[in-house]
Symmetry: C2
Subunit: 204 residues, 2 copies
């Protein structure tokens, strides 16, 4: 059995997955609310060097399941460049990560995470990620990466953590994905105090 | 007790409340699925001359509640012009309706529905609608009207029937609303087979 290609992302009701200047604070509040340490240090809010543990048990279960079922990660170079300074010596992924880039470089090993830089495009990255993930899922990170996979018909599942806020501006998830109408099937709804987790299967 | 100013609308996961050319068919499928008569005649799909009765009991309850709690309606001239040919001799609203327009005209009575044409803008329309609605809610119809009310800080509640489809193009609900970030509070989630009904209170 092959795993799925999954996008898990926090999105405002008006469709943004990051605010202006890549600001993630409001959208990721639910991940940190209720934690003992709410100092809100920058490294905490971008994943820190340890895995997230949300304050609400329902949120924690959604996050734990995501980590449990993910066998490899694909992200864009920009996401990597923005995140890298905050991930520390043991980034939270702890699985093989594939970074889509135009500039090749050596594999990087950071604690339990490896970063492989892929210059041959998404199909090559997916092939490598699938092999590494074995039966587990391949997770996509970042709007641009998600859009490329969606456009190519390679995305199997969309997990939206719908945040009750209108951000008004920022980076929209659902654009640059082509114009073909795509049917989805709602698979699951989890209501936590802070957000609504909605899982959709892409109907192919 | 004054009623609330409420927007109830079907929206695709990618944020559209109408497809290209004002097409509502895919977004309103859930209202008609399971009905005995699925002939899909044009007048049916735009409300027809009788109230909608959705096939699924949960959908039916959401729609019934919306009609039950609505005491007046405010819509834009464009919505009126598009809808009018399909509403027949007894439009489905059966409450006083206020049409925002630049061209004044006489009050129109159609069955149990009255259409009052308001040229003095949204605050005047709201005042009249509130008086007519008494303790019940004032419902907004149409993206443009919703956007004007939201921008003016006059919207109390957003009821989204989230349709599992990516339309890719059409009329977006959440734009032209200003740039101020707005917090919402999720009040209710109703899962029906076809859609996810999400109710949010606008935090002021």
């Amino acid at each position: 059995m092959t795993g799925k290609v999954v996008l898990s992302v926090s999105m405002s009701l008006d469709g943004f997955i990051a605010g202006p200047k890549d600001d993630l604070v409001r959208l990721h509040d639910w991940i940190f609310s209720g934690r003992a340490d709410r100092s809100g240090g920058k490294s905490d809010r971008t994943g820190g060097s340890s895995r997230s543990s949300a304050g609400d048990p329902k949120d924690a279960e959604v996050i734990d399941e995501m980590f449990r079922t993910t066998g490899a990660v694909i992200m864009g170079r920009r996401t990597y460049d923005i995140g890298e300074p905050f991930w520390g010596s043991n980034p939270p992924f702890r699985v093989p990560c594939y970074v889509l880039t135009h500039r090749g470089q050596e594999i990087l090993i950071r604690g339990e995470t490896t970063f492989t830089f892929v210059t041959e495009g998404i199909e090559s990255a997916l092939k490598q990620a699938r092999a590494a993930a074995r039966h587990k899922n391949v997770s996509l990170i970042g709007a641009d990466t998600a859009q490329q996979f969606m456009k190519a018909g390679l995305l199997d599942e969309i997990q939206i953590s719908l945040v009750p806020v209108l951000l008004r501006e920022g980076i929209r998830l659902f654009e640059n994905m082509g114009t073909k109408q795509v049917e989805l099937e709602r698979e699951r709804v989890v209501e936590s105090p802070g957000v609504t987790h909605l899982t959709f299967r892409v109907v192919k």
